[in-house]
Amino acid sequence: MLPRKSGAALASKPSLELDEAALIRAAQDGDHAAFEQLVRAYDQGVLRLAMNLLRSPEDAHDVYQEAFLRVYRNLHAFRFDCSFHTWLFRIVTNLCLDQMRKRKVRKEEPTVLATAEGPMDRMDAVPEERVDGDPQRYLFSGQLRRKIKEVLGELTPRERVVFELRHYQGLRLRKIGEVLGTSEEAAKNCLFRATQKMRAALGDFI
């Protein structure tokens, strides 16, 4: 498992902020090594966000490429009006939102695939927490996972993004508002709706 080093955590340390500003300026002046360092500082967080939102390694790969290419092309226009993390995550969430909206229209990419061994959920290949040999717990855990995924799939793309950024990426609602170009209050309402839907759908499981 990769070590957790979210951009939010990085950006919260003043000395790293200074280093980051120097890196950004060097990258703006065409220093490739500085740009690569910036990518390395944030790319695990970017990939995790894209992977969890899109639930497809290929789509997450595409979003990763497009996001950092956009950063590369437009870094000269970055004026430190917001943090680099906010700017980068705005690009990533916009790309993911576009992708999710396209899926909603096309109703494509079922997570369940037909395989030689029968139907298989692509995301079941992801290792889950051990339930220590208790078959009933194991079965329940599997059902719960499937149900959570189903409910997440029913959220609107914006609710999904807000829930992801708050629950899994640990961003505060104020920051989520900045990333999505909206107010903290709007982000709070979105999270509120998302958790209400989740509670209504999963109440029987808990």
Binding site: M1, L47, Y64, Y72, M123, H167, K188, L191, L202
Partner: protein
């Protein structure tokens, strides 16, 4: 809305630490006197914890693939450049309006002066040939047009390979994303200097990352005499495990298995066997080397 309903609606935000101080106080006060809501909060906590069960951590191999592909795409991408007026403007915030005014003034005076200068005369079409590129055009009134032309001047520089300016230009050309032919030719010349660390670094970089197989082959031939060097061995291992070109993989296994075979190479060969290596020569060579060192072809 009853106090119980209102409190329960706040539970999610309470658990995320996003309630205002006043609302949090109100919920806490209600929980102190309502056992049912305390039980409901416990259920909410269980739900909260259950969401963690579906979080996905991207695999290290996906991250590596993303990084490698990005590196290649950046090599192919043109270097980003701010528009020329942005480059002329000062970086400091309060000086930018002054810079912008200066640019406007320059434009005004240039417009007054230029019609009587070069662009007013007959343009010699012959001079546009060669290394000139029209940057933009705009109507200049009275049926005339104003054209801004970028002129690239060529210079011939000659010198020895170990001279710093020559070496610097060659190392830059070895990474020029626009022309694989130039990169291959440059590496062919640099191969003679592979004993020095900076050249060897450039060859290793090209071997691992260049998108053109011909360029990678040039790099490999320059590195062949240094196949015992640990960094070169790492690069050869990368090629053996993942290069798309069978010829390069064949050469890589020859170089890696020439002479004494170390434990890392044995591990690499076993990994290839476990993966079900498709290339006949590589598979045969793996088996022969593994047998020679009494290593299993199935486990590693």
């Amino acid at each position: 809305m009853t106090e119980c309903n209102w409190s329960r609606e706040q539970f999610a935000l309470l658990l995320y630490g996003e309630l205002s101080f006043d609302h949090e106080e109100k919920v806490e006060a209600h929980l102190d006197r309502c056992a049912e809501c305390r039980a409901a909060l416990e259920r909410e906590k269980a739900l909260h914890a259950a969401f963690g069960a579906i979080e996905i951590e991207p695999s290290p191999s996906l991250l590596r693939r993303c990084r490698d592909d990005l590196r290649m795409r950046l090599m192919e991408a043109a270097p980003p450049r701010a528009p020329w007026w942005e480059r002329l403007l000062p970086q400091s915030g309060f000086l930018r309006p002054v810079g912008a005014l200066t640019l406007v003034a320059m434009g005004f005076f240039a417009a007054r002066i230029l019609p009587y200068a070069n662009l007013n005369g007959n343009f010699n079409a012959a001079s546009a040939a060669g290394d000139e590129r029209v940057r933009y055009v705009e109507p200049a009134g009275a049926g005339r047009v104003q054209i801004v032309v970028d002129v690239t001047r060529q210079r011939v520089i000659s010198g020895k390979l170990d001279e710093a300016p020559i070496r610097g230009l060659l190392l830059a050309a070895a990474k020029d994303p626009s022309d694989p032919g130039l990169r291959a030719e440059t590496l062919g010349i640099l191969n003679a200097q592979a004993a020095s660390a900076d050249v060897r670094g450039a060859l290793i970089y090209a071997l691992e990352h260049d998108g053109n197989a011909g360029v990678r082959e040039k790099a490999m031939s320059g590195l062949a005499p240094y196949a015992a060097d640990p960094e070169v061995r790492n690069a050869l291992t990368v090629v053996l495990l993942g290069d798309s070109n069978p010829g390069l993989r064949t050469k890589a296994i020859d170089l890696l298995t020439h002479g004494d075979v170390d434990r890392e190479v044995v591990g690499t060969l076993q990994e290839l066997m476990v993966r079900g290596e498709q290339l006949g020569y590589v598979r045969e060579r793996c088996l022969r080397v593994l047998r020679a060192v009494n290593a299993s072809a199935e486990t590693y």
